[in-house]
């Protein structure tokens, strides 16, 4: 994946009953992608391993938004992406309501999402070529 593209993360808040009939709630990652395609599953698996979760359900689930945010930053750092836009399903639906075409849809994550910058991208040493090529 090209590392100069921003990432988008779409998640949903889920409340369910587990196999013991206990109510559990978590934040589930629905999609994590950039303009060129989804982030490779191997990358996601590798980063997800660092988060010790009691993961009863299929997919990548987190107990809190903070953990989800940390995961997003880790992926961003791993891929050297400049930033990641985190958007909930509810906000996605609000954004979708205002879209009529592909062009406006592409702005939904930027307009309605929470932007988290890659902490390592700011500290990167700049040189003369960055002015032309970035």
């Amino acid at each position: 994946m090209r590392n100069n593209l921003h990432l988008n993360l779409l998640y949903n808040f889920v409340e369910k009953k587990d196999s013991h009939e206990n109510s559990v709630s978590f934040y589930k990652v629905l999609n994590l992608f950039s303009d060129v395609g989804p982030v490779a599953q191997s990358t996601l698996d590798q980063v997800f391993q660092k988060f010790s979760q009691e993961n009863y359900f299929e997919g990548m689930c987190f107990k809190s938004l903070d953990e989800l945010g940390s995961f997003a930053v880790e992926v961003c750092t791993d891929l050297s992406a400049p930033e990641i836009f985190i958007l909930s399903a509810q906000d996605y639906n609000i954004g979708l309501d205002s879209c009529n075409d592909v062009r406006s849809f592409k702005e939904v994550f930027r307009r309605y999402g929470t932007c988290v910058e890659n902490p390592e991208s700011g500290s990167r040493k700049k040189n003369i070529f960055d002015k032309f090529f970035n």
Partner: protein, 579 residues
């Protein structure tokens, strides 16, 4: 020998894909000439656009106010053009129309997916079509009025064109999903009302809800089926003279998740549509490409669409028996494996995955297996000697089990997964084998296997759960051995990554009596690289000819056929099959 066909015609917004004619996209004065000029497969599909004919509540326009709504004139144009055409009435949201085709005055609740996302689809011009819930009672009431008015109008105007109700959907992980599926507030409110009925009429089911968490999903499926049936019945009863049946249609690029890929020029790739196209066709569903933008409609994809969505394919889906003779001599998809699953049963997807069956098929018999979600019914007649049938014990009831045994007695070749088979049915199987004095052979190979044979019929039982604990390669080895035992006659294809292929077959004609049937494999290279395909020689097959060569080199050698496909290359190869 090489045959060629005419070039595929360029993009026309009135004919945005295959046989679809969107009459409102051009002036009525051009309808006849457009239809006359059309050279693709027939019948032409003319969708009825509810939102166009009813802009205001209780007001229906069939040419009174706007000429483009004049269906009588359209019917006259169809007759004058001499082309075969049918009306398509959407019975669920239509993804190629704004608001899913429904009038804006009832477009209130957007469809919500299981993941809580609003359902929106990108059309061929980059517009976002939001799809709205059909569970809203106001939508159903308006729909009933609309179809009643259509029926009355057709009768008064003398329109006799056949009309098919359409269940539109898309492929989601290889399985057809209808746009009727919804988890919006409108659905949940309707389901709540349904639950009250269940509480009154089926107290035992209501009680079960309290103890069986998964039973709620079963009831939701039942409720969804019930409402869907209301739309079907309402249309059928309102337009009885024209009603000819219902069709399942799947839109390429129509999966709600496709919106992310399809909104990015750097992500969307025309090669990604080959897999859903072929999967749809083998599963007896009509593929529709009307959502694809002109930039995605590369010649190689159009060629594949033209190859599979043929006149005979469409006729076979319209279920018209007068065309049976034509169908016999036309190519149709070659399907070796029929898997019998259960509609709206979440176990279905797991059952075909855990024992490695789906992985094995995708690896070695891609686009040659069919997932059936309707209960199996043995209909007599001669059993297709290629076919291998898979049944899963956990999904079988007594009736389905009896039908399976009938198939076995009539020469069917069957795999039965006994994990989850009820004790009753397990006993029944043992009694059946003993009473009919059928010799059985028991072996252990990754799972206990029982092999029974009577005449041509073969029944092999296995335990999917025991198979599941093995690694992928062991599972593949297991299925290879099983298929080899059944002596499936098939040509081995070695293809480079990125090349797509599709097998079809037809009965031999009077000039081909040396062969039992003719098989055709079509190869497509949508990539920008040169690719190779090798077809290994087999003693039961003779290479006959290559058809429609396009940027390819085909070389026949004693060990097989070597095909070199340049970027965008495609070819079809015909083989005669003999015993």
């Amino acid at each position: 020998m090489q045959l060629t066909t005419p070039e595929v015609k360029t993009y026309d917004t009135v004919f945005p894909g295959e046989t679809w004619f969107l009459y409102w996209r051009t002036s009525p004065s051009l309808w006849e000439s457009k239809l006359r000029e059309y050279q693709g497969a027939t019948p032409i599909f003319i969708p009825l656009y509810w939102g166009l004919h009813s802009e205001h509540p209780d007001q229906f326009d069939f040419g009174t106010y706007r000429p483009e709504t004049d269906l009588k004139r359209l019917y006259a144009a169809v007759r004058a053009s001499g082309k075969e055409a049918v009306f398509i009435l959407p019975l669920v949201p239509a993804p190629f129309l704004p608001n899913g085709g429904i009038p804006s005055y009832v477009a209130k609740n957007i469809i919500i997916s299981d993941d809580g996302l609003g359902c929106s689809v990108v059309d061929n011009e980059g517009r976002l079509n939001k799809l709205f819930s059909f569970y809203d009672p106001r939508v159903f009431q308006s729909f009933r009025k609309f179809v009643w008015n259509v029926g009355q109008y057709f009768s008064q105007a003398g329109i006799t064109l056949e009309l098919y109700g359409a269940d539109f959907g898309y492929l989601d992980k290889g399985i057809f999903s209808s746009y009727f599926k919804d988890r919006s507030v409108a659905f949940e409110q309707g389901f709540h009302r349904y639950l009250k009925q269940v509480e009154e009429n089926e107290p035992e089911s209501y009680e079960r809800l309290k103890t069986d968490f998964f039973f709620e999903e079963v009831l939701k499926s039942r409720y969804a089926d019930m409402i869907k049936d209301l739309y079907f019945q309402s249309a059928k009863e309102s337009i009885p003279a024209n009603w000819s049946g219902d069709l399942k249609m799947a839109f390429l690029g129509g999966c709600p998740d496709d919106i992310f890929a399809r909104s990015s020029d750097m992500w969307e790739y025309h090669g990604d549509f080959f897999d859903p196209l072929f999967s749809v066709v083998v599963n007896n569903i009509i593929p529709v490409s009307t959502l694809l933008s002109p930039s995605m409609r590369k010649p190689i994809l159009l060629r594949a669409l033209k190859d599979v969505v043929s006149h005979s394919f469409l006729l076979s889906k319209l279920d018209n028996s007068i065309y049976d003779e034509d169908l016999q001599v036309s190519f149709r998809p070659l399907v070796y494996f029929d898997l019998y699953l259960k509609d709206n049963d979440s176990r279905s997807s797991e059952l075909i995955s855990k024992g490695g069956i789906k992985y094995f098929f995708d690896r070695e018999y891609h686009w040659m297996y069919r997932l059936n979600f309707k209960p199996f019914k043995f209909e007599g007649g001669e059993e297709d000697h290629h076919k291998i049938n898979y049944f899963f014990g956990s999904l079988l009831d007594k009736e389905g089990f009896n039908e399976m045994l009938k198939l076995f007695l009539n020469g069917g070749r069957i795999f039965l997964d006994i994990s989850g088979l009820s004790t009753d049915l397990d006993n029944k199987l043992n009694v059946f084998l003993t009473e009919n004095d059928i010799a059985v052979e028991k072996i252990n190979y990754l799972t206990p296997i029982l092999k029974a044979q009577i005449g041509e019929g073969k029944l092999i039982t296995f335990d999917n759960d025991k198979l599941a604990i093995n690694n992928t390669m062991k599972k593949v080895g297991f299925w290879q051995t099983m298929i080899k035992y059944l002596e499936l006659r098939h040509l081995d294809l070695q293809v480079d990554e990125g090349v797509y292929y599709f097998w079809k077959h037809r009965v031999s004609n009077t000039y081909e009596l040396d062969y039992e049937e003719i098989r055709r494999v079509s190869l497509y290279n949508p990539t920008s690289y040169k690719k190779k395909v090798h077809i290994v020689s087999s003693k039961n097959f003779a290479f006959l000819k290559s058809v429609d060569e396009q940027n390819v080199n085909v070389k026949s050698t004693p060990i097989g056929i070597d095909v070199e496909l340049l970027p965008g290359g495609a070819v079809s190869l015909d083989f005669g099959y003999f015993e």
